[in-house]
């Protein structure tokens, strides 16, 4: 089920809210939320729920094993079992075909492994359950003896299938105590309304504009303007799509008493690549920092080792997004940029460049990155990149199709740019608290109505990030 579906909005969410508020006991609330989360996941793809249960079950036992043993080697053995078991599921479903076929290609073997259907959200819940086992091993979190609570942490529907990646230590306390607060409820509902409208209106309109000049269609002749327009639309679409999901997840979390950390913080105003990744998919960055980069040695080592660590982390970050070379190259693209920024240019020199120049530059760098991210066929990524810089046979400056599309969606880039800049928070600061609060709720009401209007006119529309 997706948040922007009629099934969720008109039936699932109201029924869950009603049942959730029938009784005040945390046991009842957890039971309702767990049952709802399992139905949410099972809706449309019930078979893979067993996989999630198995993954949680294995990690539950491993964490108990870690907790009950004081000997370091035994604790480590339980940790390895937990990590390997979780990763086996992820690798089998997501990467096995890619790895086997890539090796077969290298050795010119005729063997071909069919790709598996990807269980929804496997990348997210695998990482979440791993943070639990690792945190117990690190003694950062207490072991959870109640398997239902652990399952609720992993499967809690607001963040189940597209994040943010919630670390166990951050919500462990909330599994035991979540008093109802009407203020938090209304704030969560408002945040949900904003996220829903970002997805249904902005992301989907950007997607519609992009589909008109689909650069992945080899029969379309890309002009310079067309290639840039397509890149711009995808840049906005992926931001609104993913940040919308995070907004809805955080909002729903708040409604049900959970505090999830922010996942996006206006990334397109970043003045450096480092800053971009502090603002984009923050929970993924935190995961890789805490559970891969720092264990590898982080930056407190030789320059060579630090560069190696960064390339490993960024290749993995790319690969996390999908089993395809373009994702790995996309990760490495950012790895190289971050290494260049840190070891070649240096922070001081970066800061000397006026932010009015840095911000557009980083935005354009991100756009080129999204071109790579968009195309699983690398030759098409090269074609679009070439067209953006005017290289390629017969590349024209513009073309009638692009002109027509730009006119059809003429105001959309302006609205998208406005929505991706922190204009509203700045306005909010200038107004008195009461006026801005009231206005924000009026706006959220309008956005909910608009979302229902747009949803009615649209068909079922899954989120881009589900495939990860």
């Amino acid at each position: 089920m997706v948040f922007s579906s009629m099934t969720f909005l008109l039936l699932f969410l109201p029924i869950t809210l009603l049942l959730y508020s029938v009784r005040k006991s945390i046991r009842w609330k957890n039971s309702v939320l767990l049952t709802a989360s399992l139905i949410f996941y099972a809706w449309g793809e019930p078979v893979y729920i067993l996989l999630m249960l198995l993954s949680v079950g294995v990690n539950y036992l491993c964490a108990l094993g870690i907790d009950q043993n004081s000997k370091k080697s035994l604790r480590r053995a339980w940790l390895v079992i937990g990590v390997v078991a979780s990763m086996i599921f992820l690798v089998w479903f997501k990467y096995a075909a890619f790895l086997v076929n890539s090796f077969a290609g290298i050795f010119s073997a005729s063997f071909h492994m069919a790709e598996k259907k990807l269980p929804i959200g496997i990348s997210f819940y695998t990482f979440q359950v791993l943070t639990y086992t690792v945190d117990v091993y690190r003694r950062k979190a207490k072991v959870q003896k109640n398997p239902a609570k652990l399952l609720l942490y992993v499967s809690c529907f607001p963040q189940l299938i597209a994040g943010p990646i919630v670390q166990y230590a951050d919500v462990a306390g909330m599994l035991d105590n979540r008093p109802f607060d009407p203020i938090r409820f209304s704030e969560g509902a408002r945040r949900f309304a904003i996220g829903l409208s970002k997805k249904v209106i902005l992301a989907n309109l950007c997607g519609a504009a992009l589909s008109r000049i689909d650069p992945a269609d080899p029969s379309i002749t890309l002009s310079v303007a067309g290639a840039w327009y397509a890149a711009l639309m995808y840049t906005f679409q992926i931001y609104f799509d993913f940040s919308a999901y995070s907004d809805m997840a955080i909002g729903l979390g708040r409604i049900f008493g959970f505090d999830y950390k922010e996942n996006f913080n206006y990334p397109y105003i970043s003045g450096s690549i480092t800053e971009f990744w502090r603002r984009w998919h923050i929970s993924l960055g935190s995961f890789f920092r805490d559970y891969v980069y720092i264990p590898l040695g982080g930056s407190r080592c030789s320059v060579k080792r630090a560069i190696f660590n960064m390339m490993v982390v960024w290749s993995l970050t790319g690969m996390w997004h999908g089993a395809s070379w373009n994702f790995i190259l996309w990760g490495m693209y950012y790895g190289i940029l971050l290494i260049t920024e840190r070891f070649v240019i240096g922070r001081e020199r970066m800061e000397k460049i006026p932010s009015v120049l840095r911000m557009p530059l980083i935005f354009v760098i991100a756009m080129f990155g999204w071109v790579l991210f968009y195309h699983t066929d690398l030759s098409l990524a090269l074609r679009q990149t070439g067209a953006m810089i005017g290289i390629g046979s017969g590349v024209q400056l513009t073309d009638p199709l692009t002109t027509a599309v730009v006119r059809k969606y003429s105001v959309l880039p302006l609205i998208a740019a406005f929505a991706s800049l922190p204009v509203l928070p700045a306005l909010k600061k200038r107004m008195t608290g009461r006026i801005s609060e009231t206005l924000s709720y009026i706006a959220a009401t309008v956005l909910i109505i608009l979302s229902v209007i747009f949803l009615t006119g649209q068909s079922y529309n899954p989120f881009i990030y589900f495939r990860f």
């Binding site: 099934t7 008109l10 109201p14 008109r212 699983t376």
Partner: protein, 431 residues
């Protein structure tokens, strides 16, 4: 604090109203078949629960479609959505037209057909590999003994535009056979489905990528129907002319060019052992649509001594002009035939009468049939155009009353094998 409570109550109301809307749909939506005239399709009813459907994901998808199709005030909401979308546009009607005719996604213009590019996208979501998904869809089709319509790439690959399941092919064949049962022993049914220009231009405008197109659903239909049904593959007929640079489709309309219609007609007539009238023998005038001067099209004329009637309540005739010269597209021909029933008295005396089932693609085609029949009768069975009350009886009854000898079925692919027009409306209105 009071204000804070106000926000809470307001946000509670959002969810209460959403729940009310959901409740209205679930408990008060009619079980009867609901048709959207604007979209020319049957709206999704509440799906029947089955474990197979639930585990396969079909139940969830159908249920979501049911809710989306049953939202109270759906038409008004869709209209509001379109209005809001248009508010952010600065495009002209020419831009709109240009986008409609150069759309890259066949599904967007292909109406109700099962669109392989959509299927590919679904596959892509899971696999992130479009080439693999093309292969998958091909395998699926072969496994199911279905058929497909594809553009042939120069590198040996192909892009699947439509896929046709075995079940839909069988149902289509059954519907065609129902028509065969209504005509005399010496009568025949001639059938063709014509692609939209947007697909044709995708092929001809990208000569570096594509070198042809092909389909096998027509062949399958031929195999599934009796010898009295003659199926004509318009792709095979038009391809050499398109590769030679002849204009077979219009840029300014979603129609085929009269030349394309002529080539298909010629082949149908030859199959009857007759000689088609050479195109040069027709008198025609060339029209240039005002805004799209690169496109020209030919209006055959005069069609007299034919007379043109709209028929209602079984036998009430109202005469209309044969041609509508002021108009600038193929609807100019046989003016007014997109109705439940329409009759052209050709003025020729051959002793035979023909019936044409079709959408607007039959218009330019049918003009060529005039010399071969005494009467041509037309019906447009699309949900938004057919009105049984207006006709006063069924199509089958009208066929019997008018002693139809031969039948021509000429639809665009949008109303072809996978469409509700051909699978549902066609048999529903026949009887």
């Amino acid at each position: 604090m009071q204000k804070r409570n106000g926000y809470f109550i307001l946000s509670m109301w959002w969810f209460i109203l959403l729940a009310v809307m959901g409740g209205l749909i679930v408990f008060f939506t009619s079980d009867r078949e609901r048709i959207s005239m604007d979209e020319n399709r049957v709206l999704q009813n509440a799906p029947d629960f089955s474990l197979t459907g639930f585990f396969g994901g079909e139940y969830a998808a159908d249920f979501e479609r049911f809710l989306a199709d049953s939202v109270p005030g759906r038409n008004a909401l869709i209209s509001a959505s379109n209005t809001i979308t248009n508010l952010i546009a600065m495009n002209t009607s020419e831009d709109e037209f240009y986008l409609d005719t150069t759309m890259t996604k066949a599904a967007e213009f292909g109406g109700e057909q099962t669109d392989a590019s959509e299927a590919d996208n679904t596959e892509e979501s899971a696999n992130d590999d479009s080439s693999a998904s093309e292969k998958n869809s091909e395998n699926d089709v072969n496994e199911q003994n279905g058929a497909k319509f594809e553009l042939v790439k120069r590198d040996g690959g192909s892009t699947v535009i439509y896929t046709y399941s075995e079940e839909n092919l069988k149902r289509s064949a059954e519907n065609i056979q129902k028509v065969v049962d209504l005509i005399p022993e010496d009568g025949k049914v001639y059938l063709t489905f014509v692609p939209f220009p947007v697909i044709a231009f995708r092929f001809t405008d990208s000569p570096k990528v594509y070198c042809g197109w092909r389909c096998n659903h027509i062949e399958k239909l031929d195999q599934l129907t009796s010898d009295r049904v003659k199926c004509f593959d318009s792709l095979r007929i038009l391809e050499p002319h398109m590769l030679a640079g002849e204009r077979m489709f219009l840029h300014f309309s979603h129609q085929w060019h009269i030349h394309g219609a002529y080539y298909v007609y010629s082949e149908m007539i030859r199959s009857q052992g007759l000689t088609p009238t050479p195109y040069e023998e027709y008198e025609y005038k060339i029209n240039h649509p005002p805004r799209y001067s690169e496109d020209s099209f030919e209006l055959l004329y005069p069609l007299a001594p034919a007379h043109n009637y709209q028929v209602s309540h079984i036998n009430q005739k109202k005469e209309y002009p044969l041609m509508y010269y002021i108009g600038a597209d193929n609807a100019s021909y046989l003016y007014g035939n997109q109705r439940p029933w329409h009759t052209v008295i050709t003025g020729f005396h051959t002793g035979r009468r023909a019936m044409i089932f079709g959408d607007c693609f039959n218009l330019s085609f049918s003009t060529f049939l005039l010399p071969y029949y005494d009467e041509l009768h037309f019906t447009d069975v699309r949900y938004n155009l057919f009105d049984r009350e207006e006709l006063g009886t069924s199509v089958a009854d009208m066929m019997q009353r008018n002693s139809i000898d031969d039948v021509y079925i000429v639809f665009s692919e949008a109303h072809g094998v996978n469409s509700s027009t051909f699978l549902r409306a066609f048999p529903q209105h026949l009887y």
